[in-house]
Structure formats: C-alpha cells, structure tokens
Assembly symmetry: C2
Homo-oligomer: 360 residues x 2
Amino acid sequence: MRVFNFSAGPATMPEEVLRRAADEMLDWQGSGMSVMEMSHRGAEFESIHDEALADLRDLMHVPRSYRILFLHGGGIGANAIVPMNLLGDKQTADFVVTGSWSHKSFAEAQKYCTAHVAANGKTGHGFTHVPPLSEWHLSNDPAYIHLCTNETIDGVEMFATPDVGDTPLVADLSSHILSRPMDVTRYGVLYAGAQKNIGIAGLTIMIVREDLFDRALSICPSAFEWKAIAANNSMYNTPPTYAIYIAGLVFKWVRKQGGLDAIERRNVEKAKLLYDAIDSSSLYINRVERQSRSRMNVPFFLADESRNESFLAGANARGLLQLKDHKSVGGMRASLYNALPRKGVDALVEFMRDFEQKRA
Amino acid sequence: MRVFNFSAGPATMPEEVLRRAADEMLDWQGSGMSVMEMSHRGAEFESIHDEALADLRDLMHVPRSYRILFLHGGGIGANAIVPMNLLGDKQTADFVVTGSWSHKSFAEAQKYCTAHVAANGKTGHGFTHVPPLSEWHLSNDPAYIHLCTNETIDGVEMFATPDVGDTPLVADLSSHILSRPMDVTRYGVLYAGAQKNIGIAGLTIMIVREDLFDRALSICPSAFEWKAIAANNSMYNTPPTYAIYIAGLVFKWVRKQGGLDAIERRNVEKAKLLYDAIDSSSLYINRVERQSRSRMNVPFFLADESRNESFLAGANARGLLQLKDHKSVGGMRASLYNALPRKGVDALVEFMRDFEQKRA
C-alpha cells in the first residue's frame, strides 16, 4: 500500500521506476549482475550511462557546446564546487538571494571570493518574491551571477530568465529540474541534486558550457574539476553508478509522459489545485507573491498554529505523508514533484477542506 | 542466473542483501515508501541511519572517541578532503607510496601542502612490497602520515600497523574495509569508498578521532568539513541515503557471517586457494612479495600475453566475469571481496587449471 509522499527531498518516485529497479535488482538484462555490482568501466554500465546522458540531453535540449557531468557532492557540495571551478582570475561573484538555498550558496562562496549580494528578496514575511532585474545591483566584473531558480524551503520560483549580457549565469535547479522546459543556452552552468525530480540522493547533475572549463582554481579537488570529469566522461573517479541508473529510468519515464511540455502542463494543474485551495480558505496561508509561487514546493501555514500537530496527524491517517515543513521555517510544505500523481493533490486538497470545516 | 563477479569495484554484493532491497523497494517495512523516497530528516530514515552507524561501530570496535561519518565524494574526493581537514597550521604531510592509490593521494595533497614521499615501494616490476618502517624517511613535523592499506590495482596489502608515535596515521581502507579486524585506535583517520566491501558507489565512510576536528583549512567546502558533518550527525547536507541503507544491510550480513574474525578466516582461505593455483602454475604470474599479497585483489599476468583475450572469453563462458585488470596495468585481476563466495574461487581455479592444461 503506497502512500502519497509530499517530501521535499529525497522525494516520491514514479512507481514504475521502482518496480523496474526491483525487478532488475539481481540480474540486469541477463547480465547476471545487479547494476550496483557493475564495474563503472564495463560495457554494461557504459551503456546505462550513455543512455542516461543522451536522454537528459534530449529532454532538456542541451546543445553540443555544453557537457553534462554526473558528480558526487550534492547541492551543498556544489556551492563550493562552482566557485572553485568558475572564479578563474576574478575576485567577485554576484548572488541573487531569493531564499534559504541561494543564501547558502552566497555564504559558501565567501570562502573563495568576494561574494556580493546583488539583490535580496527577503521581506518582513520571509522570502516572498523574486526581485526584478531592474532592482539588481551587479558588481563591475563578476565571474558569474548565481541564482536559485526554485527555492525548496521558501517556495519561490523564478520563471523568467534575466538578461545579464555576457556574464555567465549559474542556476541551481535542484528542486525543479525537468519540471518544465528551460532555455539552457541562457545559462553558463546549471546544476541539480538528483533527490527531487531525478531520483537518489548522492548524484549531482551539472550542465556546463565548455568554454567555461579553464577557470578552475588550483585548490579545486580533482574529483570535482569539471574539465577532468568531462575529459573522462564522468569516470575520472567512480561515479554514483546506481544513482545514474535510477536517473536513467526516470528520464525514460519523463519521456513516456510526453517530455517536459506535457510534464509542465500537469505540474501547472497540480499547483493550481493546491494554491486555489489555500487562497479560498481562511485557515491556510501562503505569502509568496502569485507570480513567484513555486509549482514544486508549496509551503503554507495554519492561521491557528496550535492545530499543526492535529493537521499532520489527520493527514498521516489518510496516507498523506511528509507534509511537515523544514525545521527552519515551521508550518507545512507540500512538494508536488513530477512523480507525485494528480490524485495525491486531490486527496490533499480534500483533506485540507475537511480539516478546515470540521473545526469551522 | 547469477554470475561470479570478480570486479574490483563496484563489486559483487551478498545475494540476500539484493533480495531484501528488491523486496523492500516499493514499501519499506509498511511505511508505504521506498527508502529512496524518504526524507533524510524523517524518523524512518533516522532509524536506518542510526542502526547502520551502530552496526559498523560494533563490527569494527570503533571507540566512542571516534566519529563515524557518511560522506559524498568517493576515495578520490577523500584525497582532497583529508588534507583540507587535517593540515591545520602545518605545511607538510607524509605519504607511504605502495601502489597507484597511495600515489594518487600523494599527488592530490600537493594542491594543499608540501606532500612528502616517506617511502616508495615501486620496483622494476611495479609495486610489489610494503617498505618496512625502518626504511621510511619521515619529515620533521608532518600533519599526518598517509597509507593505503590495500592497493586495489597493485594487489599490495599492509598487514602490520607501523608505530609512528603521535603523528596521526591516515589510512585508505577502501578495498579491504571489513575484510578483517583492525585496531582502529592506532589510526587518526580511516576512510573507505563503499563500492567494494560495503555496497553502492557514492558513499564514503570516514572514521575520525574527535580531537582532529579543529584542523580544517578555511577553503574546505562545508559539505566536507568533518566537524560540521559530525555536529549534524552526517545530515549537514542530504547524505546518500539509499547507499547508507544498503550499507546497513551489508553490515547486518557481515554480523550474520560471524563478524570480522569469521570473515577473515574465509578470506584467508579464498586468497590461499587462488595464490596457490597461481604459484603452482607456469602460466600465471603474480609478482607481489608473499607477505604483502592482498587477500582482496589478486592481479596476475599470463606468461603468454597473447592468450589474454582467449582467457577472458573462456572465463566469461563459465560465468566468471570482470577479470580484466585495470587499464593502467593490463593482465588479469580477481577481486575476492567478502561477498564473493568460496565456490566462485573454486570455479575460477578450476577454469585456470583447465585453461593452462588445454594448451600445455
């Protein structure tokens, strides 16, 4: 009996991907081995890896001038890996702070450069909007401009790609990669931890424009140096092979759903259902400005916070799990990743109405 | 139909661990979720994590003054992570080079300090022995002394722990962790990638004596800073949760085998079978000195190298897979990790005799 799992990550996966992984666990396609047991340098794993790369390239329309790298280290690792690879001889990088994650990226970069906050979306009610480009104060000659295009904790999503000229844009897509089409060519670097829309924690996907490969600092660990990783087709060290296999199964699943256009339509519908339920109630509150509301992560508060525990217990009883928000914020959060089915949102909305009326 | 898999890593796993993982893939113990889908901050995953930690601590007799950390980054990542955490205000670290892996550790450390080769086991025939402590030339005041206690590529194992006084010993155990008891208290830091005796690539285990926590360089990425990771119980960032779950299942399996004493007895027998077969033949050659021969990784050459392809094809036909050695060495390599059953070694030895006689 499967539940509806609203975790922000690691997060719900497509059931058919899990079934396939279970079926192949002891013997992948007649090889007599689990994918976990395969040498990363053998023909079997090579085919899994190449197919995952090709499917992701196809889904996101990644041009040939970009390399897709599979790394260790997660999103927090990337906060150091990006400046160590991208600063070159520059001293400054710019950060647009729209929530907890972009703030972490900014704070970590201070280890390696003068990290400059070009704009900050924080208000009295926390992070509630994306400051428009007209309000950004960029530095003179930053190595790059960093964005987090979906803030998992704060529920703030950036839908428009700002036009910043030739300075490379770096975007952390961790919590909304593959949720909708994006124009990769507008960015220098895109990265995402896999554990939301792609699969298993421990895999980081980086999409890097090749002309940015020669800017690594000498202190950058070899295991995280883009150029070496690309030259070795992500096999400079042993990559997280099983996570790459699962990612590949998810990419096939996304293609089967109709690709990113179809996925986006479903995600728009799912998010609208939940935000409409919140906005039409007097119990539930989401303070993010409408045009910046995340389709993936919907944080909300109860007007009467003394009912939080009762809300969570009631949701659990209906098989609606992991709705408690990040400890740093409090309240609730429903993550509506690609793999969360529409009927999961229906069930949540129904429960929320019932819970509100019971006490009205 | 399962094969015998001699891969050096990722490597063969206990079949019952794979069966359990397959059985629980869609629903871990009635939770309605796969372990892959669980928030790392939820009670379910916390219990998996804590149990894995406790079992590993018990198996290796890790004292309370050491912390066990689950990290990203693999062994090659660790080559940078260790100096960045351990140099403190010292400028030098010493390296005993006994094969390809310790040489890599030495080369990477040069990014962060004066890395000094205290001893080098390379001879005209490659790496064939562990230089005795009496031949080491240690520097005056090194931050630490680094060893690779089992060289996966060269098949050189260090069985005695050298007495180096108060300087912290750091050992890379990647390819023989859990293969035999070790006295953890003789080391400052022990680390291992999981993809040989523990499970899935993408998880690195570090065992660190707590008094070494205050030596991190300011450039050390937060995601890899031991003190922060320990303070957050390996949840500073999202750890590789599924790999931790699989590691936990393997730890239970090792306990069920009788713990490390029993495992060692089996490993001694398995290795003896194969080395005896090599030494009693005129076709197969292993040049490592007997007292330094690895129980886990047995590289060997054919006296007639023109027969290499035919050897591998014949082995494959009998379900003996992944015997081709690392591309940097050539020849063959049979890895005999804990999960490789004795009957796999029997089958290999039988094939080797048949292959030799067919042509004799």
